[in-house]
Amino acid sequence: MSTAFLSVERLSQRYPDGAGGQTTIFENASFGIEKGEFVVILGHSGCGKSTIMNILAGLAEATEGVVIMDGKEVSGPSLDRGVVFQNYSLLPWLSALKNVTFAVAARYPDWSKDQVLTHSKKHLEMVGLSADVFNRKPSQLSGGMRQRVSIARAFSISPKLLLLDEPFGALDALTRGTIQDELLKVWAGTNQTVFMITHDIDEAILLADRILLMTNGPFARVAESVEITIPRPRNRIEIVEHPNYYAIRNHLVQFLGKHSKELAGPTDAAENRPATVRIDKTAPAVRAPSRLAV
């Protein structure tokens, strides 16, 4: 067992393929996440990202393998693991505010009504929502506002691990940008551990401490763990000027465009741990990207 805050150990997921056999989505996947780390996972559609996330959330069970968080095995959902789904995270019959207060009240059952209300409003304001939208139903909010409410709710219960499944997938590029900024701002003030799925390479570089790259399914695996060697605080406009930005970006594009396919398929390894990749042009001795043995 590794000593990471969250450790995923030899996780496999198989589903019946409808013809009497089985499809293996991923096999023997192992990786860890440190406390306070922001980890983003990138991979082609259908490789099993959401499946991994649902297992981390405790909403689904893996066919084999375990997830250990803070020394305890994950079994079933818990307030310790907050989730923001791509859509439908909010209950449509509750106002924005009520969507947060019910979570806060569930998290802190001994708080008074006033405490719950103040705490909830504080978090809604933190993501840039003003008081006049608090009482609107989700259907009366724009897509961006809705995801802000979801993020406010997730942070308001301070879970040990925050899971985000393509939280901005349905938003236009401009809205995406501003909400990414809000997310970074809110996250910077906490020591929140985040595990996020996205399809957007630039979003991943902006937000992540580390990016996990998955090969294509079936038999997908987490092949690489790319460190984002760009100091924080980061900013969408300035980040592109950092010498490491394009190097890292190129590496990711290459992986998703080429290696994810080449590396696909089953391996004989008993455990598929990602190779650590560190690209740093600012380091004194310039090294080529080093891919450790898989």
Binding site: V83, F85, L94, R107
Partner: protein, 277 residues
């Protein structure tokens, strides 16, 4: 005209249609002759009675005014005010209906939550549902031995199915993501049921309740014609036996008005629970 709201224009059109309809009705009914004016021949062939039977709207309105100005008089078993008769019918409908809701909604919840319960109960529901509620009447009268309770039972049996089926359907169709929201917030079974599943399924459930109350009101008239005694259904039948067609038409209109009011109540409830995604 063009800057008038759609509602206003529709209301004006409604009034025109009503007025034209009444006028037409009044016009096609030949003027009534008093019994004394009938010829011997007309009296023998019964022609006079038939003509006298279909009243013009003016008479119905007169009747309505007379009845509605004193709806609750009670002059013996065969002569009660329209208000009392409708009161009896509404009481029976609501009694049977709420008993049905009391069983259908919790049971529907269970069926919706559990695929096993759904599969196990489905054959029974499918067989029992298409039975005309009035077909139960003889059996109910025989077993219960009381016409009042039998009428309530018939209402119960006819209103249970739409509520049961809609509740089960609504509960089974609750979006998985909303249930997952409840699960990730550790809401527990009872709180999940009341905070997530019930509000999510409420529009479907209320639709079922609305269908049920409509059916119950349709059935009570027929049931009361069978069991007799009191109620609007009995009243219609009784006035028909008295050949008082003015009262028959008036009570038909009242059945429509009360049915509309019952439906409107559920319309309000529906607006209250509806949500858009």
């Amino acid at each position: 005209m063009t800057d008038m709201s759609v509602n206003k224009r529709a209301a004006i059109l409604s009034f025109i249609l009503l007025f034209a309809g009444l006028l037409l009705w009044e016009a096609v009914i030949p003027g009534q002759k008093a019994a004394g004016e009938l010829t011997e021949y007309e009296r023998l062939t019964g022609g006079g009675a038939q003509k006298a039977g279909v009243p013009p709207p003016s008479q119905v309105l007169e009747k309505a005014w007379e009845q509605l100005s004193d709806p609750f008089y009670d002059a013996g078993p065969n002569d009660k005010g329209i208000g009392i008769q409708i009161g009896y019918s509404i009481y029976r409908v609501l009694a049977g209906y709420f008993l049905a809701a009391l069983i259908a909604i919790p049971l529907g919840f269970l069926i919706g939550m559990s695929p096993v319960a759904y599969k196990a109960l489905n054959p029974f529901i499918q067989v029992l549902r298409p039975i005309s509620p009035l077909a139960w009447m003889p059996l109910a009268l025989f077993i219960i031995q009381d016409s009042e309770t039998s009428a309530i039972f018939v209402i119960f049996i006819c209103s249970i199915w739409p509520m049961l089926i809609n509740t089960a359907f609504g509960v089974a169709g609750v979006r998985k993501d909303w249930v997952n929201v409840a699960r990730t917030h550790e809401l527990g079974a009872l709180r999940t049921a009341f905070m997530v599943i019930l509000p999510a399924a409420a529009p479907t459930i209320v639709t079922g309740m609305r269908i049920s109350i409509g059916i119950a009101w349709l059935v009570i008239v027929a049931a009361e014609m069978l069991v007799g005694g009191t109620g609007i259904g009995y009243y219609v039948w009784n006035e028909w036996n008295n050949l008082d067609l003015t009262s028959v038409i008036f009570s038909i209109l009242m059945i429509g008005v009360v049915g509309m009011a019952l439906d409107a109540m559920f319309g309000v409830l529906q607006r209250f629970v509806v949500y858009s995604e």
